[in-house]
Amino acid sequence: MGETVAIGIRAEGLRKVYTSPPPAAAAGRGAGFSFFARGKRPKQKLEIVALDDLSLEVAPGEIFGLLGPNGAGKSTTVGVLTTRIRPTAGRAWIGEHDVWRERVPVKRLVGVVPQRPNLDLALTAREILVFHGAYFGVPAAERVRRAQELLERFQLTDRADRLVLGFSGGMLQRLSIARALMHDPRVLFLDEPSAGLDPQTRLLLWDLIRADNRRGTTILLTTHNMEEADELCSRVSIVDHGRMIALGTPEELKRSIPGGYVVRLHLAAAPPALLSRFERLPGVTGVRTSGDGAVDLYADRGGALLPEVARLSNEAAVEIRDVKISEPSLENLFLHHTGRSLRD
C-alpha cells in the first residue's frame, strides 16, 4: 500500500525481572485465587531475570534477528517492545513513540505473531481476520477484501469459514501471520515463526516475510534456527540469559569466530598434554573443553585437520569416540560465546 517511510525500533537498557513463576508452571497449583497470591507467599522471594540490560537498535526497513536458546529472553523482548510486558527498567521506542508511555499509537504501528498462536477460538478463520481489521479501524469493505486476499496468499481458503479449533499447527501459524498483516503494520514482530512448521511451509513463510519487508515493513524475528537467521536477516543479535552477546550481519558474525571451523572431539580421556599438542597444530587457533567432556578445536580447516588429530591421539593412546566437524556458522558462534550448543 502507498509510499510510507519505514520505522525503526530502539531499546535501551531493558531489564525484566519476573517475580512469579512462568504461567505453565503456575497452572494447576494452589487454590488459584490470584488476589491472595501476594500475601500467601513466604519470605523467600522469587526473581527470574529474563532481560538483563538489553539494548538494541533495528534500522527502518531491516529484517533483524534475535537468536538464542530457549529461555534467553527473546519472547520477553518481543513482549516489552509490543506493550504486552512492562519492563522493570529501561525504555524502548517504536519510531519516535515510547513503547510504554504511548501504547496506543505503538499498537497501531506494530503487528505481532506470538510464539504460541493466540487466535480467537470462538471465530472462523475469516472472521478472525475481519474482526482484527475492525479493531484497527479498517473500513468494512476494505477489511473483507483484505481478509480474502490474505486467506488466498496463505493458502487458507478451503478452511476459511470454519472455526479454527481443529486447525493444524501450521495452519494456525499461517493464520496468525495473516492476522498480523491485516492492519498493514509498519513494524512486524515474529516470535519463532517457523518453529513446528514443515519445510515447505517454512519456505513459503520466508518468501512472505521477504515480500512484506520489500514493501517497507521493518521486521524483528526471533529464532533458534541458525539457518533461518542466516537466510533472512540483514543483522542478527545473539542473546543469552537476557543479554546480548554478539551483534552483526550473519557474515560478520561468522567471520568473527576464531578459525571459523569447529572440530568437536569426543575422547576417551582428555589429558592436558594432548590438548596442548592439539593447540600447537598448524591452523588451530584455540582448544576448549566443553561441559559434556567434548573437546572443541577452533581451526581454519575442518577435515584436513583429522589425520593430524588422529596421529596425536594415537600417540597418546587416547581413543577417539566421535568427531563432528562444523563449518563456519552462527551455531559455532553461539558455541564459541557460551560454550553451549543452541539446541541444548
Partner: protein, 256 residues
C-alpha cells in the same frame, strides 16, 4: 478511547452470542422456569403456598436470571481467554487502552443480563398465570435498577474471570455463588428474615439482596421491601466496588 475499536469488540461479542443463541436461551430460561413452575405454579395451585407468593417470587427470579447470565457471560470467556490460549491478546493489542477492553466486557455482560431479564420476565409471568399482580407504575425505577443490577452482574463476572483459574471456576460457583443466591432474598423478602435478626443483618453484605429487593420495590411495591435509599445505595456501592476491583485484577492479568 477509540470508539471504532470499542464498537468492533462489542460486535465481536454480539456475533459470538448470536452464534450460541439457542444454548444461551436455554441456559437463561431453563432453571428460572423450573423454579417458576414448581414454586409459582405447582405449589401455589395446590394450595401448599399462598397465591400471593407468586408476586413475591417473580422479582427475585428476574434478579437471579440477570445476575447469573451476566456473571456467567463475562466470567467464563474471560477465564479461558486469559488461560493457556491467551485469546484475549488480539484485543489487548488493539489500538485502545487495555482498560477499555475490560469496560467492553462489562458492557457486553450488561447487555446479556438485560436480555436475560427481558426474556425471563414475560415467560415467568405467563407460566405463573393470573394473580402475580405486577405493577409498572415506576418505569424509571425499573430501568435504573435493571442497569445497576446488570452492571453488578457483569462486574462480579469481571472479578471472577480475572481472579479464578479454569479449574476453580466451577467450585467458585457452587461454594460462593450458590450460597449468595440462597441468602440473596430472591425466594423470600428481606423482611421475612426478621425472625432471625443476626442473619437479617448479615445478609446485607450480599449484593444479591439489593437486586432482589430492588425489583420487588419496582414491580410489586405493595409488598414490604428495603427502603429505596438502601437499595440504590447498596447497588451503587457494590457496582463501584466490583468494577474497580475487577479493573485492577484485569490490569494485573493483562500486562506481564
Amino acid at each position: 478511547m477509540n470508539a471504532k475499536t470499542f464498537l468492533a469488540m462489542l460486535r465481536r461479542d454480539a456475533h459470538v452470542a448470536r452464534r450460541n443463541f439457542v444454548t444461551l436461551l436455554l441456559q437463561t430460561l431453563f432453571q428460572p422456569m423450573l423454579l417458576v413452575f414448581v414454586f409459582g405454579k405447582v405449589m401455589t395451585s395446590s394450595g401448599l403456598i399462598r397465591p400471593e407468593y407468586k408476586g413475591m417470587l417473580l422479582p427475585g427470579i428476574i434478579a437471579l436470571a440477570m445476575l447469573l447470565s451476566g456473571v456467567w457471560s463475562v466470567a467464563m470467556p474471560l477465564v479461558s481467554e486469559f488461560q493457556f490460549t491467551r485469546e484475549i491478546e488480539d484485543r489487548l493489542l488493539s489500538p485502545i487502552e487495555i482498560e477499555w477492553v475490560a469496560v467492553e466486557k462489562v458492557v457486553a455482560g450488561m447487555l446479556q443480563a438485560i436480555a436475560a431479564g427481558l426474556v425471563v420476565l414475560p415467560t415467568a409471568w405467563l407460566v405463573m398465570g393470573s394473580g402475580v399482580g405486577l405493577s409498572f407504575s415506576r418505569p424509571l425505577d425499573f430501568v435504573l435498577l435493571a442497569l445497576l443490577v446488570s452492571c453488578l452482574a457483569a462486574a462480579i463476572g469481571l472479578v471472577l474471570g480475572t481472579s479464578v483459574g479454569q479449574t476453580q471456576i466451577g467450585l467458585m460457583f457452587s461454594l460462593v455463588i450458590a450460597p449468595m443466591i440462597f441468602f440473596g432474598c430472591a425466594y423470600y423478602p428481606w423482611s421475612a428474615l426478621q425472625v432471625f435478626p443476626t442473619l437479617q443483618k448479615a445478609v446485607l453484605i450480599n449484593p444479591i439482596v439489593y437486586a432482589s429487593e430492588g425489583f420487588r420495590s419496582a414491580l410489586v411495591p405493595r409488598f414490604p421491601h428495603l427502603p429505596r435509599l438502601a437499595i440504590y445505595g447498596g447497588l451503587v456501592f457494590f457496582d463501584l466496588l466490583f468494577v474497580s476491583f475487577g479493573m485492577r485484577q484485569f490490569r494485573r492479568k493483562a500486562v506481564g
